[in-house]
């Protein structure tokens, strides 16, 4: 591991100023914020990340979960995944978020990992994690080892000729279905970014994963008030029952009355290069009866643009069935 210095800012402006000197906020940043460290330290041990300076944000006042006046929720950047998943307001109003977080990692890791850290979780693509391998995300221009390589667990939506790495987060998928907003304090002030605009597609710059710029400190995430009468859940399919990343997952937030769905929010995990909101699927569900035929239409719409690789063609049907089953569970009589 390359050596580094640790900076301990006293407040958010100091943190922003300290990190603002970094050349980039993306892959290979020379200055990194550190909170739980569960992704960053792992990648530093692998020499995939080699920051010269770590800005410790653990003591900043961005660690609270609070109800907002409009009936929504404000989640501090350094709120640990465990605390968020078990928070009474999350259990009550945002079931899908609680279930998504608890389906990922282990208790120990969830006790360390934070909300903002999870938003910035890095791909598990083996070529990204191994510095002996080509990877356009880690080393732009070096090629993609995964295309025509080991790609069984990689993305089929949002891919490019340069990169097919999956966004591995479960929490992000729930955040996408809940239409969360990411709040950032940067050198030029504060701004709010809808979750759908926060992560970017790889295109020909896979080293860029988010819209964050140097010095941008995620301070909190807000959720809108829960849709009245909605039912939400997270269904995750994987190679083993626990402590495994998704092959396919679905976050669904459905409001139904008299057998008809009046509102649907759909996001998929394990299949996209970013948390995959599907407005196409939502369109097929809204004002339609909660039947298997409707669910199949929505699933087909969600996966219409899928581009399977040599080993992950099974994910197309798996993701469809995952979404269909999630919809069935969310609309069946209580």
């Amino acid at each position: 591991m390359k050596t580094f210095q640790i900076t301990r800012p006293k407040d958010n402006p100091q943190a922003t100023a300290a990190a603002g000197k970094s050349k980039t906020a993306q892959q290979g940043a020379d200055i990194r914020f550190i909170a739980g460290g569960t992704t960053l330290i792992d990648l530093m041990k692998l020499n995939v990340e080699q920051p010269q300076n770590l800005v410790d944000v653990n003591r900043l006042p961005i660690d609270k979960v609070e109800a907002t006046p409009d009936g929504g929720l404000m989640i501090g950047a350094t709120v640990r995944n465990s605390e968020l998943a078990w928070h009474p307001l999350v259990r009550k109003n945002y079931t899908v978020l609680s279930e998504a977080i608890l389906s990922g990692a282990t208790v120990q890791i969830r006790n360390m990992a934070t909300t903002a850290g999870n938003l910035l979780q890095r791909t598990r693509c083996v070529y990204f994690r191994d510095t002996a391998m080509p990877c356009n995300k880690r080393e732009p221009g070096s090629g993609c080892g995964a295309i025509n390589g080991f790609n069984r667990n990689l993305a089929i939506l949002g891919t490019s000729e340069e990169c097919i790495a999956t966004n591995p987060s479960d929490m992000n998928v729930a955040m996408a279905a809940l239409e969360a907003t990411v709040h950032v304090r940067g050198p030029k002030g504060e701004r709010s970014i809808p979750i759908g605009d926060f992560h970017v597609l790889p295109g020909n710059t896979p080293q860029r994963e988010t819209v964050l710029e140097p010095g941008d400190l995620i301070t909190h995430v807000t959720l809108p008030p829960p849709a009245p009468g909605n039912r939400s859940l997270y269904l995750k399919l994987r190679d083993r029952m626990s402590y495994e990343f998704a092959l396919a997952s679905a976050a669904v937030v459905i409001t139904a009355a008299n057998g008809k769905m009046t509102r649907a929010r759909i996001a998929l995990g394990g299949v996209g290069t970013k948390p995959w909101r599907s407005t196409e699927a939502e369109g097929e569900l809204t004002d339609q009866p909660a039947t298997e035929a409707t669910f199949r239409k929505a699933a087909d719409a969600a996966l219409r643009g899928a581009k399977p690789q040599s080993q992950n063609g099974f994910k197309v049907e798996l993701a469809k069935r995952c979404l269909m089953h999630a919809l069935k569970l969310a609309t069946q009589p209580a």
């Binding site: 591991m1 050596t3 792992d42 041990k45 120990q108």
Partner: protein, 219 residues
């Protein structure tokens, strides 16, 4: 990979420590003793703190920084290379070798300790990030002469074979007692999924935990 994560300072520290004069035989005997400590068998004396005669090595790296840690109720003022993980600090600097290095990448759970009462992975964090935190290791959980009920239950239920993962298992199991874990075995397995046992002692580990949760006699 563990070599990669080990700094030259760590190696020097190890060489200076009494435990660091490694031959295969001393390594194995150390491993055996550590396992016994972890499972708290009544054979060898154990220590919640390093023995007085054992010097706590400081890093002589030019990048070393002062770090104050609270471990098992005792305060330590150290100088550490910032790269020192909490696990390496506990093992190589404080000689608290009950916490084990398995994968060194947060995948196996052998390094599990309690930070402010919550179980976390000491290999996946830098020691310098834990100033002000209350850190508890297996040595602070119980001793052979006064075992924690969970340690006693592991002994009674034969919840280990080689013992290498045992301290991590027990740290998770003790934390689990205060977590929102349902009553069924399946729920215990889910909550314990971050602790890998290559010997496959899982059934007995679940039995040991359920034994304590159900208030059974722990021998």
């Amino acid at each position: 990979m563990s070599d990669q994560a080990k700094t030259p300072e760590d190696s020097k520290a190890e060489a200076r420590s009494e435990f660091g004069q490694s031959t295969r035989r001393t390594f194995l005997s150390r491993l055996g003793m550590a396992s016994l400590l972890a499972s708290a068998a009544r054979i060898t004396p154990a220590f919640a703190q390093p023995p007085e005669k054992m010097k706590i090595p400081s890093s002589d790296s030019k990048d070393a920084i002062p770090v104050s840690l609270h471990v098992n109720g005792k305060k330590y003022d150290l100088r550490l290379d910032p790269r020192t993980t909490l696990l390496d600090c506990l093992r190589e600097h404080l000689h608290l070798t009950g916490s084990k290095k398995g994968c060194d990448h947060g995948q196996c759970g052998a390094c599990t300790v309690h930070i402010n009462g919550q179980r976390q992975l000491s290999c996946l964090s830098f020691a310098a990030l834990h100033e002000g935190d209350e850190i508890t290791t297996i040595e602070g959980i119980g001793q052979p002469e006064r075992m924690h009920p969970m340690q006693a239950s592991f002994v009674k239920c034969d919840a280990y074979q080689c013992g290498y993962c045992t301290s991590g298992q027990i740290m998770s199991a003790v934390a689990l007692l205060k977590e929102p874990c349902g009553p069924e075995d399946a729920e215990v397995k889910e909550f314990m999924s971050g602790n890998i046992c290559r010997c496959g002692a899982y059934q007995n580990i679940v039995a040991a935990i359920q034994n304590v949760r159900q208030g059974g006699k722990t021998g």
